[in-house]
Symmetry: C2
C-alpha cells in the first residue's frame, strides 16, 4: 500500500533510558527524508502532549541540536506516566486525525505498546489511514518478543561498571557490600553485575533475582559462607527480590516470621513507613500506575545491611563492616556511560520503524532478532512484530505480559547467573574499562 | 644531602578514589628509575601490612599490570582504616629500619599525613635516615595546604555527570528529586553538582553544604519556591548537612523541634535505628575512627524525601512526585568516569614525591599550587609542604584540621555555590558529556 501523505507525530513515555533519545532522533531524521511525511511533530510528555495539543516542530530544530539531544539521556520531548484508557485513546485519535497525522510513533515500554495498539484499532475502525508504531525502550529488558530492548545495554553497562568499582573498593577495604539494582519484575539489570568479574575471586559473589523466591535464612547463610571463605562479599540484589510466594521482602509475612525466629521480630516494621506516611499525608505512597514504590528509597538496602550486620554479630560476636547502596537513577540516565551497540540499535529502531511505515506495514513494534553466526560474531537486526504480541494484551489471563529471565540463565541454586547469560549479555554492553590486579605473592623483604 | 641507598616501602590508606592507584604507580615507576632505591615494596593494607610484614615486590610486576592497576579505581595494594598510635608508629619504624627501608611513602588523607609525621619524627630521633612522604588523596578535597587534592576531580566528575543525568531525568518526568552526596565536613563534592548546569533552568536548583547551618523550614521553603516556579526541582544535599549548631539533621534536636511544630514529631525517630540496632547487636553503628556512619545508608535521603512529600501534601493537598537517591560508593570508585587532569596529577604527585626524596628533601606532603595565568589557562604544579602543615597536628586546639569551602565560594543565602567556585572547579573535571535540549517553542499543527 502506498505511503499516505500527512504528518508524523512522535512521543516518549515511561522512565528514561540513556538512549531513548537515539530512538527519537532515529524516527525524526528518517522521517525528514521521506516525501510522504509532511510535518514531523514531537508531542511533549507523550500522549499527554497529544491530548493538550502541545507539539514541537522538528523541522525547525538544527541538526546539531538533534544530534546533541540524541546523545543525551532521558526523554528529550518530556515523558509521562499516563496510561490512557479507551476513552483517552479515542480523544488521542480524534486529535491525530484532525491534524492529518498519518504516522504515530510511541517510544516506550509495555504500556506504550498497549496504548499504540488501542489507537491503531480505533483508526482502523474509523477507516482512517494511520500507521502506528511502537519503538521499545526499557532499562529492565522485560519486553516480550525482542531479543533485548534498547536502553538495556547502557543500563547494564552502568551496573557492570558500578560493580567493577564496588568490587575493587571491597577488595581494598574488605567487608560486606550489598548493592540494590532496579528491576521490579525481572532480574536482567541486576544480573548484568556479573560482567564485573574479571579476575578470580572478583565479585559480585552472589546475585539475587526476582525470578526466584528466597528465604532470609538462605540468603544470610549464603552471605556468611562467602564472607567466611573470602573475608569479603559483594552482593547484587534486585529491588524486586521476593519470598517464595512472590511477595517482596519488605512486604513479606514469611520474611517477618523468619525475622521473629532470628530474634529480630521488630526489624521489618522499622523500614516500613507506609502507615506513618499515610497517617500524615493520606496515602502518598502508591504511584500513578499502582506499583509499590521501590525505586527512590534506600529502605531495602538499609534493611538487608542491618539484618546482615545483626545476624553476623549474634552468630560470631563480631561487628563486621556491612554497607549497602541503592544504585538509583544513575542506572537509567547516566551520561557518558553508554553502550555503543545500544546507542546504535536504539537509533536504528527508530529509523527502521519509519522505513517500515512508509514502505507498507500498517503498524507494529520494532524488535530485534539475534542471528546465530558461525564464529559467534554478534549480529542483530530489527524486525516488525505485531503490537499485540509485544503488549501481551491478548494473552490468556494469568500469563505474564513481561519477560522474566529464562531458566537456563540462572543457576540452580538461584543465587547467580550462568555462563550462557554472560555470553548473551557481553555484546550488548561492549567494551568495559580495564580492571588491573596486583597478583604478586607476598614476599619477605 | 645524597640519597641514601636502601629500599622503598609504599602503602595506601583510607577510602578509595578513582586515581589513588595512579599515585601508587607514580611512586613505583619513578622509584624503579633511581639507583639509590634498591627494592620497591608495597605494604598490603597500609601500615597494617607493614606491621605484619606483608609486602609485595613491585620489581616482579609486569609494566602492563602496573598500567592496568593505575587505571583501576580503589587501592590496588589494599587499604586500611587503621590510625596508628605513637606505640604502633614505633613498631612500624622498627620494621622499616630492620628492612633497610630508606623511603617510606604513604598515600592517604589527613590521618595518613599524621601517621607519616609521627614515623618521620621517630626516625629523626633515632638518627636513622628515612625519607617519609605523604601523597594526598581524598574525594572530599578537604585537605589543608593544597589547591585541590588528587581523587577529587574524578569524584567531582562523577557527581557532575550523575546530576546531568538526574536533571535530564527530572526535566522529562517533573517532580522533586533529592540527591545526597558524600562529604562529612566539607561540601566540595556536593558543590560539584553545579557543573551539571548547561541550559537555562537546569538543575541542581539548590545546593546544601555542611559549611552552613540550616533550618528544616528554610530548606522546605526553598524547595517549595523552586518547585512552584519551575514545576520541578533537583536538589543536592551533602551527607554532612547540619543545623546551626553543626549537628547533622538526623541527630539534631533543633530539627526534631521543627518537625514537632510541623506536626511530624515522630518522623525523625523512624529514621534513627541506633537504639534498635544497638539493642540487638551491642553498638555496631560507630566505625573504627569514631565517625558517625553516614555513608552506606539511605536514611538521610529517605528522611528528606519523606518530610518534603508530607510538607507539600499538608500545604497544597497534593501528592507530588518526590524521590531521593544516595549517590553511594560509585562517587569514589566508578571506573570509566575519571577526570584526565586528575589522573595525570595523581600520577605526577607520586612521581614528584620520589624525585623530591632522592634529590634532597627529607620529608613532606606533595601538594599542588595553582598559578594565575594571563589568559586563565589552567596551570598547576606540585610542591612539597611540611607533613605537619597538612596534618594540622600543630594547630592550636579548636582550629579545624581540614579545609572547608571558603566563604566566597558559597552564595550568601547558603543554598548555592558562586561562579568563582565553578570557575575554580571546571579545569579539575575537564570535558563533560554533551547535554542537548530541544528549545523549540510549542506550535499548533
Amino acid at each position: 500500500m502506498a505511503a499516505p501523505k500527512g504528518n508524523l507525530v512522535v512521543g516518549q513515555s515511561g522512565g528514561p533510558t540513556a538512549v531513548i533519545n537515539q530512538s527519537l532522533i532515529g524516527v525524526v531524521k528518517e522521517a525528514l527524508r521521506h516525501e510522504a511525511i509532511e510535518g514531523v511533530y514531537g508531542a511533549r510528555n507523550g500522549v499527554e502532549g497529544v491530548l493538550r495539543e502541545d507539539f514541537l516542530d522538528f523541522r525547525k530544530e538544527h541538526d546539531s541540536t538533534l544530534e546533541a539531544v540524541a546523545a543525551t539521556p532521558s526523554a528529550g520531548l518530556g515523558s509521562c506516566r499516563f496510561k490512557p484508557k479507551e476513552e483517552d485513546c479515542k480523544n488521542i485519535f480524534q486529535i491525530l486525525s484532525k491534524l492529518n497525522a498519518r504516522y504515530f510513533f510511541y517510544i516506550g515500554g509495555n504500556d506504550s505498546a498497549l496504548s499504540a495498539g488501542i489507537i491503531n484499532k480505533i483508526a482502523r475502525e474509523q477507516n482512517y489511514e494511520l500507521r502506528v508504531f511502537h519503538i521499545p525502550k526499557t532499562i529492565d529488558n522485560d519486553l516480550l518478543v525482542t531479543d533485548h530492548c534498547p536502553g538495556y545495554g547502557s543500563a547494564a553497562k552502568y551496573v557492570a561498571q558500578a560493580f567493577m568499582g564496588n568490587d575493587a573498593d571491597n577488595r581494598s577495604l574488605p567487608g560486606i557490600k550489598i548493592d540494590v539494582c532496579m528491576g521490579r519484575n525481572a532480574g536482567w539489570l541486576t544480573a548484568a553485575s556479573a560482567l564485573a568479574r574479571v579476575h578470580p575471586g572478583d565479585g559480585p559473589h552472589l546475585i539475587y533475582l526476582p525470578e526466584r523466591g528466597y528465604t532470609l535464612k538462605g540468603m544470610l547463610n549464603d552471605i556468611d559462607k562467602v564472607f567466611s571463605a573470602n573475608k569479603r562479599a559483594l552482593i547484587a540484589v534486585s529491588e524486586g527480590v521476593a519470598d517464595s510466594d512472590g511477595h517482596t521482602f519488605l512486604e513479606s509475612e514469611k520474611i517477618r516470621a523468619e525475622l521473629k525466629e532470628l530474634g529480630m521480630g521488630k526489624l521489618l516494621d522499622l523500614f516500613d513507613l507506609t502507615g506513618e506516611v499515610e497517617e500524615l499525608s493520606g496515602g502518598a505512597k502508591r504511584d500513578a500506575f499502582g506499583h509499590v514504590q521501590l525505586s527512590g528509597t534506600g529502605a531495602l538496602a538499609d534493611f538487608l545491611a542491618t539484618v546482615t550486620k545483626i545476624y553476623l554479630f549474634n552468630k560470631c560476636g563480631k561487628k563486621y563492616r556491612v554497607r549497602a547502596d541503592t544504585l538509583g537513577y544513575a542506572q537509567r540516565s547516566m551520561p557518558g556511560v553508554v553502550s555503543e551497540v545500544d546507542a546504535i540499535e536504539a537509533r536504528e529502531a527508530g529509523a527502521a520503524g519509519v522505513l517500515t511505515a512508509v514502505t507498507g506495514d500498517l503498524s507494529g513494534s520494532i524488535c530485534f532478532k539475534r542471528h546465530q553466526t558461525q564464529f559467534g560474531k554478534y549480529l542483530c537486526e530489527p524486525f516488525c512484530a505485531p503490537l499485540e504480541d509485544v503488549s501481551g494484551v491478548n494473552f490468556p489471563k494469568g500469563v505474564k505480559q513481561y519477560r522474566p529471565m529464562e531458566d537456563n540463565l540462572i543457576t540452580e541454586a538461584g543465587n547467580d547467573v550462568t555462563p550462557e547469560f554472560v555470553e548473551w549479555l557481553r555484546p550488548l554492553v561492549g567494551q568495559l574499562p580495564v580492571k588491573g590486579l596486583l597478583k604478586g605473592e607476598s614476599v619477605k623483604v
